[in-house]
């Protein structure tokens, strides 16, 4: 009996002296809504079946390797559903006791699912929706964003254009609501960084024949005519979230100019050719695991689950509130193959991160650009800064 007492005491002492040794089994989920959409302009942009899920698999491996030294395990459930099945899927995830959910969905669905999760005390990570209002008046206290906003993307492009002294812009916007939302972000960016939109045009989405055998013939005739007679400009900025015209623009303008935005030089969080800052290792691990190149959605999901991993490793918590509080605290930092730590904005839950400018093959540049200064972090020159955001869910 005496001996038993002693060993119990010893075990207790061990437990309290090495708090990091508490075993935690971390369960998370990735919920993806697959929307009925037209095919992308380029076959290279076809979404793979495991879009985003592959990033979760890599995150589980990365977190699990670290967890192996600390007694933590990681398991992530993945679900892909049509829009009408989203609420039931979220209910299923929550009822299984999972309180950390990464969502790949559009704004309206994301907000509804986030509120559903809030009722169960769960934390949601947005890995897809770029809408600015999600970081502004429509923000939620249980919603963190690893996906960058339209504002961050537009600012990344704008800074590069201004750095190049290409300050006269021809802005061409698509006609669908999400295209218009992106074009608004570019207008704000122009104003923010001192570029001038010399001409603002809308390219109507009338349905196209781009993938037919003679599609390129029409494109080649229509686009030069459409861009004819624009006021003097250095660069063409395209806002085409729908992906129906911007990819064609580069070689079909009336006046030869560089194209940026949704076509030409495109802002992105990640791409399969990114190599700087140790990213090669991310790519080789990802490719060995999944057999394909990484896409931005994979990276966004990976980031979300790595945030969870950091909270578990350093703050010893997998509780939704604990993860959130640690993520937006000053102690949080994460290396994410972007040359500097990424952190969260504590006013709206947005992850600060450098944005890559990608030409479809290589990283051409990375924003923020040199010379764009900020009193807190140069990363806060992109997206909604503290005084600009109307979000009060984090106060």
């Amino acid at each position: 009996m005496h001996r038993l007492h002693q060993s119990l005491l010893a075990a207790l002492v061990l437990l309290f002296s090495t708090s990091a040794a508490w075993a935690i089994d971390v369960k998370a989920a990735v919920l993806r809504i697959d929307y009925p959409t037209l095919l992308p302009i380029s076959r290279y942009d076809l979404p793979p079946d495991d879009l985003g899920f592959a990033g979760a698999a890599l995150a589980d491996e990365d977190n699990g390797t670290t967890g192996g030294f600390l007694g933590h395990t990681y398991e992530t459930k993945t679900m892909a559903v049509p829009p009408e099945g989203a609420d039931a899927a979220m209910a299923e995830i929550l009822s299984s006791g999972i309180k950390l959910v990464v969502v790949q969905a559009r704004q309206d669905d994301l907000l509804r699912l986030t509120d559903q999760a809030a009722d169960a005390g769960a934390l949601v990570f947005n890995a897809r929706a770029a809408d600015i209002s999600l970081r502004d008046e429509a923000c939620r206290g249980n919603l963190l964003h690893t996906a960058p906003s339209h504002a961050m993307m537009a600012d990344a492009v704008a800074q590069f254009a201004v750095w190049k002294k290409w300050t006269k812009w021809l802005l061409i916007s698509g006609s669908n609501p999400q295209d218009v939302a992106l074009s608004d972000a570019f207008r704000k960016s122009a104003q923010k960084f001192g570029a001038k939109i010399t001409e603002d045009r809308m390219f109507e989405d009338t349905g196209g024949s781009r993938r037919t055998d003679s599609g390129h013939v029409l494109v080649q005739r229509q686009l030069p005519a459409f861009t004819q007679g624009a006021d003097d400009h250095d660069v063409v900025i395209t806002a085409d979230e729908t992906d129906y015209f911007a990819r064609f623009m580069s070689f079909h303008l009336w006046t030869p100019r560089p194209v940026m935005g949704s076509g030409g030089l495109v802002p992105t969080t990640f791409h399969g050719a990114h190599e700087a800052w140790g990213a090669t290792q991310y790519q080789t691990r990802f490719e060995a695991l999944t057999g394909r190149y990484a896409m931005p959605e994979d990276y966004n999901v990976w980031l979300a689950l790595r945030v969870v991993g950091e909270a578990v490793t350093r703050a010893n918590t997998a509780a939704p509130d604990g993860v959130r509080d640690y993520a937006i605290s000053d102690s949080f930092e994460l290396a994410a193959f972007k040359g500097q730590k990424v952190t969260f904005r504590d006013w709206n839950g947005q992850l600060r991160q450098p944005i890559l400018l990608y030409d479809g093959r290589i990283t051409v540049s990375v924003s923020p650009q040199e010379g764009f200064l900020h009193q807190t972090s140069p990363l806060d020159t992109m997206g909604l800064d503290r005084p600009e955001s109307r979000c009060d869910a984090f106060q």
């Binding site: 140790g278 080789t284 691990r285």
Partner: protein
């Protein structure tokens, strides 16, 4: 024929510049090693070193140079005098950095892609062990008594203390983001671990039995340089344990730190994207590899001043010096 060969070899031995020290610099992008005369600071030659050569070290007698040929998945071996290639060593996939134990027998290699440290026997050229570590192992340090090898994992963010007796991890210490390098003082009482993205150096005191205790953290600050660019990578400490030099990557500076009080004393401006460091054997000079300006900077250790820069190959990564 045989005697002719012998006498030629003898002549080479007599005429050879036996007294001149040399530095070997691995050029990651150029796939070469640059040989630098450390008396005249002239480049002697540059030779093919395999694909993506990074970590580089020398045998204790200075006769053999080992280099991690990352994209060849092996350690290439060269004669330090003739630069002839000798039989390679197996390394496991994607070797990045390694450390040779003081006896020169066992080489401990970080396999960046496979979360392993591979232990290779340099004599039998056999793999002795594979030790699973954290994600993206990189930095490798060895205690002067050769009882522990310390590996840092860049994505797990730990320093793993591996016993060289049974190849088991005895201690794991969390450090700041993306730890790059681990370096003991010559008396083994202190260990410095650099964290590139965290922007810090974690300082540990090492007990008699090799157990680490974190005792401090060094941060850096340079007027006019964004804090994001102060990224500690390579490090070296003088053998008297008084001065720590830390390469700060894209900040293009080497920090001079009082290794006892941990106070940062000065920043020496060097070339662009300064990566790894090595002292000359007499510790009179410190050489830095500058990956973006394709040169090395020579620092006078006593004066703590940069005295010279020398153009080398494409994207210099690592450096090792011999007598």
């Amino acid at each position: 024929m045989k005697s002719l060969f012998l006498s030629t070899a003898l002549a080479a031995l007599i005429a050879g510049p036996a007294l001149a020290g040399k530095a070997f610099i691995s050029n990651e992008r150029g796939n070469t090693i640059t040989v630098l005369n450390t008396d005249t600071w002239e480049v002697e030659t540059e030779f093919f070193a395999g694909n993506r050569p990074r970590g580089i070290t020398a045998s204790p007698d200075g006769k053999v140079i080992y280099v991690c040929a990352s994209d060849d998945n092996l350690v290439r071996v060269f004669d330090a005098e003739t630069y002839e290639e000798l039989p390679s060593l197996p390394s496991g996939p994607d070797p990045e950095l390694f450390i040779l134990e003081p006896s020169g027998k066992r080489l401990y290699i970080a396999n960046e892609d496979d979360n392993l440290v591979t232990v290779t026997d340099t004599e039998t050229r056999m793999i002795l062990a594979e030790v699973p570590v954290g994600v993206e192992p990189e930095g490798m340090g060895m205690s002067p008594d050769a009882k522990f090898v310390v590996n840092t994992s860049e994505t797990t963010n730990m320093a793993h203390f591996i016993s060289t007796e049974d190849y088991k991890i005895k201690h794991n210490i969390l450090v700041d983001q993306r730890p790059r390098y681990a370096h003991y003082t010559a008396d083994g009482s202190r260990l410095f671990v650099t964290s590139e993205i965290g922007g810090t150096v974690t300082v540990m005191d090492i007990a008699e039995d090799g157990a680490p205790t974190v005792v401090g953290k060094i941060s850096f600050e340079v007027a006019g340089v964004q804090p994001e660019w102060l990224q500690p990578v390579g490090a070296r400490v003088t053998s008297d344990g008084k001065r720590l030099f830390v390469a700060l990557g894209p900040a293009n500076r080497v920090a001079v730190v009082d290794a006892q009080s941990l106070e940062v004393l000065d920043y020496i401006l060097v070339g662009q994207r300064v990566w790894q460091l090595d002292f000359t054997p007499d510790e009179q000079f410190l050489l830095t590899t500058n990956g973006n300006s394709n040169d090395i900077t020579v620092i006078d250790v006593a004066k703590e001043k940069a005295i010279k820069s020398v153009q080398v190959g494409q994207q210099p990564w690592g450096v090792v010096t011999i007598d």
